[in-house]
Amino acid sequence: DQQVKQNSPSLSVQEGRISILNCDYTNSMFDYFLWYKKYPAEGPTFLISISSIKDKNEDGRFTVFLNKSAKHLSLHIVPSQPGDSAVYFCAAIKDGNQFYFGTGTSLTVIP
């Protein structure tokens, strides 16, 4: 049973515009959420995280929003750049070390 879901397999955005990647989860016991970025033939790299006690975390062009009542997580990238083209995975942590990953969204930023 997929506890973390990314319902959009792909997303295309024009360079300079905002990219919004979405993630839904079902388990209210998750206490930490993360986003990873993955280029082809490389391992995922950690991008940004948010604790369940917060609703927003920002790091440069990347902002993660958490809506606990809706069990929804989103990653905003502003402005989007061609180098942001990659697969993005959201992940949730339960009990400190149990990671649950979504199936990924492939972002293409068009120059």
Binding site: Y36, A41, G43, A91, G96, N97, F99, G102, T103
Partner: protein, 112 residues
Amino acid sequence: DVKVTQSSRYLVKRTGEKVFLECVQDMDHENMFWYRQDPGLGLRLIYFSYDVKMKEKGDIPEGYSVSREKKERFSLILESASTNQTSMYLCASSFSYNSPLHFGNGTRLTVT
């Protein structure tokens, strides 16, 4: 910077062979993990380890085993490779509770 190194980027093995995938991390992390990544299925946890000599099954342990004899090294073993084990295998480590995973570059295994 944390470095997680997987010994092979690409491997081709025959059905029935015993396959060893090696992973080493250089940051004294307690926790190590093996995932496989398949299109449309995301990352699925095979095994993980919180300490030397310790291992726990993940979501899809069937057909796999692991070994952690030293803190920095975590090996994944395919006892008798099958074609449905063709996949990208990713090793990861983390420092502690609620810490991000740091991934290696992956091993693309093809079983023919």
